[in-house]
Every structure is written in structure tokens, then in C-alpha cells.
């Protein structure tokens, strides 16, 4: 059978007129395309049924009231203080966490990319182990560390830095500390992979031409690391916008974010219209960010698919 196939392949140009061959090729190509689309189908059905359909349903829900179509749920977001204040706080915290994760993530990614063997591995292990550890476990650990008589307060008091225990949790401080801990690996890992690819030769070339280390860093290293910073920042910011678990546990119900607004509207008040509108505004913001950044870095790259 295999021989026949090969024979057919090699003979065809001479025996058949070129037109037929072109038609056969086109038919073959169409068949190939259909096969590919069929292979994609099961995954598309899952995402369609369990993600896109629910989103559409929420969209319908958000503009439907007893008296028919109404934008009341969206108007309320802009009119009622609690709603837009929650959005503002969510943006503020997400922005703060993103900036902090650049500040803390850059040095460790840099160190890991320049270190050799054992030390590079040690740094990466310290980033990857928390990354793979359940967010719940880490939130639990922070609840223990940050409580009034927790390790952080005790250490600070023993060192004589503070006289009274600080309120580190059930407020915005706790939310930021815990959220940053979850987000930091999302910054470090893309940064590391970009920095690792920066050739040492370029930096040496700059220095051999008389540039001071800081100048080399600023003019050669930083521009080349910039795409990594951008990818990491987008990822961190977007995940922060919809983050629920850690802010809920460490914020102690006092730092209300958009995700909690959605959850409370659904679970406590069964206010589907309000929950849907709030959620969809959040979704629109996220999509706008991805759409805007797509021109500079393809989305697939940011999500690690490229």
C-alpha cells in the first residue's frame, strides 16, 4: 500500500494534466483544513458552552429588569459611591502591586539571569516553589505571619523598631502583602526568560567602549529587558483586577474589591443584574488592556503560548 502511494505521488505530474493535479491539491488542502478545524472542535465546544455562553447570559441579565430593557445596572456603577469607589480601590491596589512586583521582581530576575549553577537554581527554586503552592496555603501562612502576635510583629518588636503591634491584616496592607506574594512569580518568570536571552557579549562590548556599568545597564540591558517588564506587568495587573481569594481572606471584609462586589451580589443578595454589570465592566477593562497591548506584544506571548 505504501509503495502504491509513493508511486502515485511520483507519477502524477507526467501522467495527469496539470489542471487536475491543481484541483486535486486544492481538494487535499480543503480536506486538511477541515481536519484541523474538526480537531479544534472539542476544545471550542467546551469553551463555548462553559465560558462564552455564560458570559452572553450574564450580558443579557445585566440589561434586563422586570420592565424590560434597562441600563440601570450600568448607570448605578457610575452613580453610587460604593460601586465606583470599589473600582477605584481595585485599580489602585492592582497598580500598586504591579509597581511593587516590578521593583521586587527585577532584582531577583536579574540576579538569577546573571548567577551561575547552584545560585541561579536556588533563586529560581525560591520563586517556583511558592508559585506551585496553593494560593489558599499561602494566604493561610500570611494570616499566621501578619496577625497581631504573629511572627512579623514579634520580630519588629524584638528588634525595637516598633513598640506596639501593627495592624497588618484585615486591611489594605494585608491585601497588598498577600497579593504581591502571589503575583511576584508572574513577574519574575517572564522577566527571567527575557534577561537570560540578553547576550553577555553586548554588555561587555558596551563596557569595553568605555561605558560605566550603570550606563551600560541603562542604555543596553534595560531596553532589551523592557518587553519582559511589559509582559509581566500586564499579566500581574490583569490578574490583580479580578483576584478574589487572597484579598477576601487577608482584607477581612474591609478592603472590598470588584471581585468581592460580584461575589456578594450573587451569594448574599442574589442581585444577578448588578453582579453581571459589575463583572462585565471589569471584563471590558481587561479586554481593552489586552487589545491595547496586542499591538506591541502578541497576547499569546504574554500568556506564555508563544
Amino acid at each position: 500500500m505504501s509503495n502504491a502511494y509513493l508511486a502515485h505521488q511520483s507519477d502524477s505530474p507526467e501522467r495527469q494534466p496539470p489542471q487536475t493535479s491543481a484541483a486535486a491539491l486544492a481538494r487535499e488542502e480543503r480536506k486538511e483544513d477541515t481536519t484541523m478545524l474538526l480537531l479544534l472542535l472539542p476544545a471550542l465546544i467546551m469553551v463555548g458552552l462553559l465560558l462564552i455562553l455564560p458570559m452572553c447570559w450574564l450580558a443579557v441579565q445585566s440589561v434586563q429588569t422586570e420592565d424590560g430593557f434597562s441600563l440601570a445596572n450600568y448607570i448605578r456603577i457610575f452613580q453610587e459611591g460604593i460601586y465606583w469607589e470599589t473600582f477605584a480601590l481595585t485599580f489602585k491596589i492592582s497598580f500598586l502591586v504591579t509597581v511593587l512586583s516590578i521593583l521586587l521582581g527585577f532584582p531577583i530576575a536579574y540576579a538569577a539571569s546573571r548567577a551561575q549553577g547552584f545560585w541561579a537554581n536556588l533563586i529560581l527554586v525560591c520563586v517556583i516553589i511558592p508559585f506551585w503552592t496553593s494560593v489558599l496555603v499561602r494566604s493561610y501562612a500570611w494570616l499566621v505571619l501578619l496577625q497581631r502576635k504573629g511572627l512579623v510583629n514579634q520580630t519588629l518588636m524584638d528588634l525595637g523598631i516598633i513598640d506596639q503591634p501593627l495592624n497588618l491584616m484585615h486591611n489594605t496592607t494585608g491585601t497588598v502583602i498577600g497579593t504581591l506574594h502571589v503575583m511576584l512569580p508572574f513577574m519574575v518568570l517572564p522577566l527571567y526568560s527575557v534577561m537570560k536571552k540578553i547576550p553577555q557579549d553586548l554588555l561587555q562590548a558596551s563596557e569595553s567602549l568605555g561605558a560605566k556599568p550603570f550606563y551600560t545597564f541603562r542604555r543596553v540591558f534595560l531596553p532589551m529587558a523592557a518587553p519582559g517588564v511589559m509582559a509581566g506587568s500586564i499579566l500581574v495587573f490583569v490578574i490583580c483586577l479580578g483576584f478574589f481569594i487572597t484579598p477576601e481572606l487577608l482584607g477581612g471584609g474591609r478592603t472590598i474589591l470588584v471581585s468581592m462586589l460580584v461575589q456578594r451580589n450573587v451569594e448574599l443578595y442574589h442581585a444577578w443584574g448588578a453582579a453581571s454589570a459589575v463583572g462585565l465592566v471589569l471584563l471590558a477593562v481587561v479586554f481593552l488592556i489586552f487589545w491595547g497591548i496586542n499591538k506591541f506584544i502578541p497576547i499569546e506571548r504574554i500568556l506564555g503560548a508563544r
Binding site: 496553593s134 502576635k149 479580578g242
Partner: protein, 267 residues
């Protein structure tokens, strides 16, 4: 003189930089490390370091019918998610890699949507749909939602392998008479094994770790471990959580090692 001063300055900045890096790494790793000794504490209230040691929280976990049932639900769900999402994700990743159709790029982004849409919104949406079709608090519903959530991770991991694989090898096998599926199984699959391993791990972990959707749609006898842990953490801090956390940390360490080894072999 001048060079000496420069050198000293360089060394000082080096030391400062090392200290800063060490401090950040401590911030990252301490919360993970602290949980383990706490799980062996005798005390009912959180304290560190523990004054007396015991295994009572592990006993509390393994002897509690509720915790055990939650652990069983989580493990079954994670296993089922893994088994179903792998072939579905494999088919999709294969098509994304092999096809040059323009629409495929759009379809790929659609398949990545579960990573982009805020999880709280997915949870609310799935809850809303499930409430209408009676899938709330069922294993089927939970597993289906987790498959959808795991798919992008599976596809990304497999794509990484496929992109580094030379597809003409599969073509050769096909030209020698194997059908496409057999050629794939015999030639391609064995060579992308490392990415298959990481896709498997990702599928399993995504499901095992997933909290927000489970919080909304799992319930009754089919509550996941994460839902029970979350509720326990919100209401009052039960040290049993420390024991469960330690077990989970141990499990994730194991997975990091497995992932590391499969990558090492690939090199």
C-alpha cells in the same frame, strides 16, 4: 587611590544588592516554609515557633469524614480533568501548530479566554448556567468547568513541545503508509513527552488548586478541598489547615521535582 575607591564602591553596591535579593527571596519562601512546623504544633491557637509538638492536626484531618470526603472529591475531579483535558487539548494544540489557516489564530485566542476572563466572572457565569440545567453541586458539573479552565494551560504546554518538533518526521511516517493518527502516536508523541508531562501536571494542579469556581458550584457531598479550606479560613482559623497545607506543599514539591526531571531528560 581613585581605582581603589571605585573598587570599594563596587563591592559595597554588590553586597547591598545581594542583601536585597536575599530579603526578597525570604519574603517569597518564608510563608511556604513556616506552615510545615506549624502543622506539628500542639497548640490550638496559632503560634510560631510552636512550644510543643504533636501530630494531632494530621489526625484531625485523616479522621474527619468531612475533610476526607472533600479530599476525595478534589482528587477525583483533578484526575478526571487531567484525563479528559489532555486529549482534547492535544487535538487543539496539534491543529494550532499544523494549520496555516488565518482563522486558527483567532480560534487559538478563544481557547486562551479561560486564562484572560477574570475567574470571578467565570464562576458567576457558570453558576448561573448550572443553576438552570441542574448541574450545581454535581461532580459532572465541577469536572466540566475544570476541564474548560485547564484547557489553555494544557494547550500552551503542548504547543511548546510541538513547536520544537520537526513535523516532517511525521510526514515521513505517513508517506511510508501510516495513517495520520498512528504516525502521530508512534513518531510525534514520544518525542514531545516532556511537554506532555508538564501539560499533565498543569491539568492536574489547575483542577486541584481551583478555588473560586468550586466555591460557587460545588456543594453538599461534592465540596472540594479548596472550598472547605476557604470556608474554614474565613470563619475561624483551624490548625487542621496547617496539616492539609503541609501535605499540599509536599505534593507540589514532588510535582516540581517531576517537572524538573522530565525537563532535564529532554536536554
Amino acid at each position: 587611590m581613585n581605582t581603589l575607591a571605585n573598587l570599594r564602591q563596587l563591592r559595597v553596591s554588590h553586597v547591598v544588592f545581594t542583601l536585597v535579593v536575599a530579603a526578597i527571596l525570604l519574603y517569597l519562601i518564608i510563608p511556604v516554609l513556616i506552615v510545615v512546623p506549624m502543622s506539628f504544633s500542639e497548640a490550638r491557637f496559632l503560634q510560631f515557633p510552636p512550644k510543643e509538638w504533636s501530630l494531632r492536626w494530621y489526625e484531625a484531618f485523616f479522621h474527619s469524614a468531612e475533610w476526607m470526603s472533600a479530599a476525595r472529591v478534589s482528587l477525583i475531579t483533578a484526575f478526571a480533568t487531567m484525563v479528559v483535558s489532555l486529549p482534547i487539548g492535544m487535538a487543539a494544540a496539534y491543529a494550532i501548530n499544523a494549520s496555516s489557516l488565518r482563522i486558527v489564530r483567532t480560534l487559538q485566542i478563544i481557547l486562551l479566554l479561560p486564562m484572560m476572563v477574570p475567574i470571578i466572572l467565570i464562576a458567576a457565569g457558570v453558576f448561573f448556567v448550572y443553576a438552570r440545567v441542574g448541574l450545581i453541586s454535581t461532580m459532572t458539573g465541577l469536572i466540566m468547568a475544570h476541564i474548560m479552565l485547564a484547557l489553555p494551560y494544557v494547550i500552551i504546554a503542548l504547543l511548546a513541545g510541538l513547536r520544537n518538533f520537526d513535523m516532517s518526521q511525521e510526514m515521513v511516517a505517513r508517506s511510508l503508509g501510516m495513517n495520520r493518527f498512528r504516525a502521530f502516536m508512534a513518531v510525534t508523541l514520544p518525542q514531545i513527552k516532556p511537554s506532555l508531562v508538564s501539560a499533565t501536571l498543569f491539568a492536574f494542579i489547575t483542577s486541584l488548586d481551583e478555588t473560586v469556581v468550586a466555591l460557587f458550584i460545588s456543594g453538599g457531598d461534592n465540596q472540594t478541598l479548596t472550598k472547605r479550606m476557604f470556608t474554614a479560613l474565613r470563619d475561624e482559623i483551624d490548625p487542621t489547615i496547617a496539616a492539609i497545607s503541609s501535605l499540599l506543599i509536599f505534593a507540589s514539591l514532588l510535582l516540581v521535582v517531576i517537572a524538573g526531571r522530565s525537563k532535564g531528560k529532554a536536554r
